[in-house]
Amino acid sequence: MQRWQIEQVVAAAPRPAIFAGAQPLAVPGRWATVGADDRLVWGRCAGSRAEPYDVVIDHTRPAYFCSCPSRAVPCKHAIALLLLWVRGHVPAAQLPPSIAALAVRLPKDVAPPSAAVPPITESDRTVPGQGGQLTISPDLAGTPPNSGRDERVARMHAGLRDLLRWLDDRARFGLSDPSLARYATWDDLAARLVDAQVGGLANRVRRLAGLVGVGHDWHRRVAEELGMLWVLANGGLNLSTLPTDLADSVAMALGWQVRTATVLDGAPETDRWLVAGRSDTREDRIEVRRVWLYGLATRRWAMVLSFAAYRQSLDGSLAVGSVLHADLFRYPGRIGLRAIVGLHHGPSDYPSIAPALSVVDGCAAVGSLIAAEPWLEHVPVTVLAAVTRSSNGWVLSDEFGSIPLVGQADALQLVAATGGQPAALTVEWTPHGVIPLTVHLPDRAIDIGPRADPSFAAA
């Protein structure tokens, strides 16, 4: 067994502060179950929490695993264990089974960073069956090795591993952990994910924070969303093993940025697009507007996003109820919901009958989109239904089925607009229920979707 030199430990610390933080922990009294063999060093460190952190280090590659929530790799616990080892306080030992189970979670490869990047093949450049749409892969592959893109992917992987460790802690210690009631717990994690350039996950974490303690079934909601985070984090770490279109969907959900110019280089989808609905939501300090377009010929949905910071204006160019004959360029992904409107070929007439499904068919349509991308949080559908009151609250119902609405305020708007009579309604499915966006009447469309607070952003 070749023991490291202290200089190697100093060099392994990602920042001087981490080495400094490790020094107080590098005393035998803080450690239990320590041992080392010719490949691994392991131990359990008593940290600030009731539960100790499990640390395993492969000193031959090197690779590090620690159950603490730190985003730093190696963290101060791993550095402390290395310090303990080089100082001769870690005895040679047989690998215990409990540590062997943890050792399989050591990163497969960590250095150099470019080696962690999934190899990009020529097949990554197109998406089968998507009409020659773009993929994210050209962005990933189009830059030379050792460029900022490698660094970014490595950072993303480190952030995803950090998230998985954090999720592991949540699963171990439970959602009843009082720290989960503090927004700072979630905000810190979100900030680390932003640093790792997975802003999509950071936004999900912030939304998740808003679910804690809200409603009688918040435990179930939070558990479900933690499950989705787990799926996305693992998907992000295994992009190269996924089908290309699914990998693109995962990358988009993680928050991987695709240049507008790259999207506009793709094949346009020309159709008469009904502006079927609009929904504004606040994401941290940004107001996000989703405008849902429905292709009257292709019968496919698309989503145009716009953003506004404080005192900025959201894009109001796509009026609900209008129809535009235009090219649409979709972002890569299995469904490719997000899109950019390209060349307008002129206005078009409002359809005399809005294309609406029965409630049963609407549920199936939503389900098919979610089956393709299970982490979707908003899915549009237009159903022909009436708002009515059931024993459990307000629902949209036709003669074959009903779907519950999220809130009474939505029902109020629908009753006022329809009088409770059947109408074509564009709604947005969310994991927490259905939000009505638009009432389509024969001569007009009424936009009732959630609207941005005008004191924050102009519509």
Binding site: E51, D168, A171, R172, F173, G174, V395, A416, G420
Partner: protein
């Protein structure tokens, strides 16, 4: 409770208490158990996360409607007996509310007088805006028609606390020199107002009373007044006031024109 619901509850309980205290339940036999076998669930702390993710994805993708619910509102209740206000009328109302709320009383009174039924996009905004004002709520009840009763019966909190009773709108106070000209022909009123602005008899401190005058003047005066105000000397200190009054005159003219263009209704 179904086996699946029991399983989900078990997973949530595990995640609530933590795997150190409670192990994750095994899935019921079937696709979820097969999923476990496929991905090789390893019995680590992440097992309940893997399993809840699988269940969540399956449940969302297999979204099923609830049983149908019979309509609670009778279809005959809302049969429109009057023409429904156009989208242009609704747009003008929004502009009035946003920019010139002093025209609201006249707009409502004209809706009642001409017999329009408020469009479905206006019903709730009108109720929410005027439910605290007994006099206006009386007009809103007429303008919105039978849907008001449906709303109040389905959402009792929405109903005004007092029974609406008719009353005259408050008089808009204006300057004496203009008051005598309000109901007369256009020219004297226009001359007095434009001349007053030029000679600085009227300045921005008179803004409120001048707006009142434009909001109550003979409607035939509105368009010529707007044109005359547009021609005001651009160097005048009150040029901003003149343009604002011109805009008010035009909007009022537009609102009245739209509301008086009511079609025949069978």
């Amino acid at each position: 409770m179904s086996e699946l619901a029991d399983y989900v509850n078990g997973l949530v309980t595990t995640l609530l208490l933590g795997t150190d205290r409670t192990p994750a339940p095994d899935p019921p036999s079937g696709p979820l158990a097969q999923f476990d076998a496929d991905i090789g669930v390893d019995g680590t702390h992440q097992t309940p996360l893997q399993r809840i993710a699988a269940v969540t994805a399956a449940r969302r993708a297999g979204w099923q409607p609830h049983p149908p619910v019979a309509p609670t509102i009778s279809p005959t209740t809302l049969a429109a007996s009057r023409p429904v206000a156009t989208q242009a009328i609704a747009a003008t109302w929004r502009q009035i509310v946003s920019d010139w709320p002093l025209l609201e009383d006249e707009w409502l009174a004209t809706m009642v007088e001409t017999g329009w039924l408020a469009g479905p996009e206006l019903t709730l905004p009108l109720v929410l805006r005027h439910r605290g004002n007994v006099r206006r709520m009386t007009m809103v009840a007429v303008v919105c028609g039978p849907i008001i009763d449906v709303l109040f019966s389905e959402f009792p909190d929405l109903a005004p606390r007092r029974k609406p009773a008719a009353a005259d709108p408050p008089e808009l106070i204006t300057v004496q020199a203009l008051r005598t000209l309000l109901a007369g022909p256009p020219s004297p009123f226009i001359d007095e107002l434009v001349d007053g602005l030029h000679r600085l008899r009227y300045n921005p401190t008179h803004r409120a009373v001048l707006e009142h005058a434009v909001a109550t003047v003979n409607p035939a005066t509105l368009l010529p007044l707007a044109a005359a105000l547009d021609d005001t000397d651009r160097t005048l200190p009150s040029i901003g006031l003149a343009f604002a009054l011109a805009e008010l005159a035009r909007l009022r003219h537009q609102a009245l024109t739209e509301l008086h263009a009511i079609p025949e209704h069978p």
